[in-house]
Symmetry: C2
DNA sequence: TTGCTCCTCACGTCACGTGAGGTGGC
DNA sequence: TTGCTCCTCACGTCACGTGAGGTGGC
């Protein structure tokens, strides 16, 4: 019989841990003096302690370890736990790897630029959405305002007509691989509830309002631009640079989400908030 | 001015998070109504929020983020933080990678054996130690008991003579690359306080007690054997198998640490506790 | 009047580390 | 008598999620 201090030395663990495992029922002392409440352990309990430590070494939480300490653990159960742990670790490593890349890229940026970037690019997952939109090819940049204005009117007209209420912000998609100044293929729309899909028109031609589902995007890099509309290009450049320096490529159409401020207001001098989003994938 | 709910939607964060950041002083509302205590935010605060999110994305703790939100953060400071984060992440990934290997190896073991191994191998770091020991070559396995007994007597004689008290358990080193049954080159010793190094004899021949320092071992795989002395081989086999199947090789002499039970007792039928240790390195 | 939003506590998370305050045995 | 070991609370960790219980505005 060992007092807790001796046993903790034997097992290379802290006294506190032994008390903790006692409390959780993972490793009860062989004997507890009813007068002094001293805990007493036997050598025979050492293997159990080391079993606990070995399982802890795999990163299993203590309550799961508890279920694994019985002698008759069904094998499929054990296997399942380990497999779960495996995929968990896999994902964690992926995530931290990605973080590491981000940190390294920030550092390199710092070396090259000599100052921290004023744009904060973040990566997130974006859920599937239901969208009412129309697509149009704008001849030149100068034609943008009238084209967009018309699309905006059509959109809100459609919403009124079909009694559909938007459930999210306006979006603009640019279906172009690079910056172009002529023949800009864009799509203007707004997020609506999934139920609106019933208004869908099959094989709709260009420039007609239509409803469709957009799949989720696993990795979306984005910057939030909050300010004047004519400063968007700066943020956009930063976004594309970021994607390039962080080991990604774009894997879909660039979108602008009008987080605050409507398309109809955007020609004036009010500040707006847009999220510049770019679906990305590891190279 | 936005109420907290609207601002949380703008920023894609929970209301709770905004309150939390307020409490920590990371992002104070632009205005707080003194009557209702309602928090009000402005669009101008959105970039700051996204800055917080971007830094959080790198895995920085909120208090560090707080120090980075000022406009005039000294560049070296920022660089240092990011570099620290980088090495932290590096180590974390290493550690989780190792864990993943262990989990995977356990799973494979399970598939091959059809049952969980009764031996729990763990990896740890072992500090440098000061050792009094003698080395001897034992002709055959049958000669073990008398040789070890003699070494034991010499050891404790030496300790008495030099008035040195052991500060740790007895150790046996096997200076042999594989299992051999003849000419077993072993070293028997005990851990003593570092001050005992003054009794060191330069160029001591074999079979003489001597004091020396053993460097730390970064990665030591070990099993604890608690039971009869003649069952040690089973545990030892398990240890070597484990090292093989987990992508390691041994990188030093195998040691037995007598955690409980003295060498002199070990010939009888009392149970003992030994730690079978093997320094390892990734292949 | 009923929902909706906002508010302030305050507990829970995970595996202990770290005192605080007190008590038996050498 | 002085250290040493043991004991039981109980707080702190980190970034919130999740109620509980209550209050103003449409």
């Amino acid at each position: 019989m060992f007092k807790i201090g001796d046993f903790s030395q034997l097992g290379q663990v802290s006294v506190r841990m032994l008390r903790h495992y006692d409390e959780l029922g993972l490793l009860k002392p062989a004997h507890v003096d009813p007068w002094t409440e001293y805990r007493y352990y036997t050598i025979g309990q050492l293997p159990r302690l080391h079993r606990i430590l070995a399982l802890k070494d795999l990163g299993l939480p203590l309550d799961q370890i508890g279920t694994l300490l019985d002698d008759d653990v069904p094998l499929p159960y054990l296997r399942r736990l380990l497999q779960q742990r495996q995929t968990e670790l896999d994902q964690q490593i992926q995530a931290e790897q990605a973080r590491l890349t981000r940190v390294a890229a920030r550092l390199q940026e710092l070396e090259e630029e000599g100052k921290p970037s004023p744009y904060d690019v973040i990566v997130k997952r974006v859920d599937a959405i239901t969208l009412v939109s129309a697509r149009v090819v704008v001849p030149t940049l100068a034609d943008m305002p009238p084209y967009r204005h018309r699309l905006s009117e059509e959109l809100y007209g459609w919403l009124d007509q079909h009694h559909v209420k938007p459930s999210g912000p306006e979006l603009v998609f640019y279906h172009i691989p690079e910056f172009v100044e002529t023949n800009i293929d864009l799509e203007f729309g707004i997020i609506v509830p999934p139920s609106a899909i019933k208004h869908r028109v099959a094989d709709a031609p260009l420039s007609t309002m239509n409803v469709r589902e957009l799949p989720e995007v696993a990795e979306m890099a984005y910057v939030v631009h909050s300010g004047m509309i004519h400063d968007i290009p700066h943020a956009l450049t930063a976004l594309y640079r970021w994607v390039g320096t962080h080991g990604y490529t774009s894997s879909g159409a660039y979108r602008e989400v009008h987080v605050w401020g409507r398309e109809t207001d955007s020609v004036n001098i009010e500040p707006i908030v847009v999220e510049l989003q770019l679906p990305i994938a590891r190279i």
